[in-house]
């Protein structure tokens, strides 16, 4: 019996332009002692639009695991002012080359 399966031509490969290579740039990174401190900043940032976001703790700051806060270098002043304004606790402030 003849095979009823419809033969199709192979999909034409989609040609996409290669994504540009990632480059590192200097970022402002806050370290925290306690997870609660990181969440206090996250909670405050959601309300008051503090620049930055939670990231895994970079190894340049400390080995191991934990949470950190990363913002662009251009936002450093705004970030520091917000930390003072909202009485937010952090363990240290660093500038780290990051993707």
């Amino acid at each position: 019996m003849e095979d009823q399966t419809t033969s199709t031509m192979p999909d034409t490969p989609t040609v996409t332009a290669p994504k540009p290579r990632r480059t590192k740039s200097l970022k402002v990174v806050l370290g925290f002692a306690s997870l609660d401190d990181a969440m206090a900043l996250e909670d405050c940032a959601r309300t008051h639009r503090i620049p930055g976001r939670i990231i895994p703790l970079p190894s340049e700051i400390a080995a191991g695991c934990g949470l950190a806060w990363m913002a662009s270098l251009a936002d450093r002043e705004t970030l520091v002012e917000s930390l003072k304004l909202y009485n937010l606790t952090y363990e240290g402030i660093f500038e780290v080359l990051m993707y």
Binding site: F32, A33, S34, L35, D36, D37, A38, M39, A40, E42, D43, I54, I55, P56, L57, A62, A63, G64, C65, G66, L67
Partner: protein
Amino acid sequence: MIYFDNAATTMLKPPEVAQAVAAAINSFGGVGRATHDAALGADMTVYRARRQVAKLFGAPDPKRVVFTHNVTEALNIIITGLVGSGDHAVTTAASHNSVLRPLFRATDKLGAQASVLAVDTQARIDYEEFDSLFRSNTRLAIVTHASNLTGDVYDIARMASITHAHGALFAVDAAQSAGVIDIDMVRDSLDIVAFTGHKSLYGPQGTGGLVLAPHVDLPSYNEGGTGTHSYERRQPEFYPEHLEAGTLNAHGIAGLLEGLNYIEKTGVTAIHGKLRGLVARLEAGAGTIHSIRIYGGHGGIDRCGVVALNVGNVPSAEVADILSNEYGICTRAGAHCAPLMHEALGTSDQGAVRMSFGSFNTETEVDAALEALAEIAGRV
């Protein structure tokens, strides 16, 4: 079913509690273990729950709200941390076994000393006698705020003042009072409060904790993963991680947060007023039924939503079984893990039938229980 066993676990809870637990189970990653959305969702819920607990108890520092699996674990952390060899501790006979057994373990295994303030045959305590129990080596007084048997509420601010005059720390077992009685750690000068989530905070089982005043430190209890400072050999010294090792029950804490939100919205005073009303209605009605004895509530003492009673000399287990099987009324019989209180009340053998109310119970349900009690009393 009429559910009057809320002092064990509140069964009727705000619907948001179960909804939050279900949502959490299907969306939460590990607390404090990553930065993806699933983990941050769990982190933020725990963070908010800490603040709600701190607000409920008037605690100055939310980071000193430590989550445990229940109040028993919290009380063990407190007693194990503060009562060692050569130390003396004070408690009252109204205490639950979750206080008594860790204390007696410390006396039996470590050479610590403990004094237990007696309660009289009407479950009352003498505050001057409490004062007399302190010694030069007393390190801790740890007392129940509200008896889980009689519902009597004791004056913790007064006992805290006495305790501090002797230079000791004052810890409160708020298992029955949290969410029912107004507690303010600053106003009442409380050093430590232990609470559970599944009773009058309307959270799930497996939630609870302790709250430390800023000047109080405890040694770590469990040691393990915290998600931070992984290369340090020992548990971090900062709170809450110092007393929280391993993954928290964030699914349960999500439900607890909704229970706390319900209490905030409803108001502790309003809840207390409602429960006192149900207690008064039950006790007034039961008082007219011959052979029923009610324990506690003497001398105008404040109450949480708990009533203990017996029908003649009928074993409490039989009365509770009849109430359950024939009337669909859920109560708790027996000793309620409060052996010294039963000894004082003379109910060690008979036990007592405990009817305990939650915010969702009604006067109609109380009236149904009174009818059932009257029928039982007339037939035994």
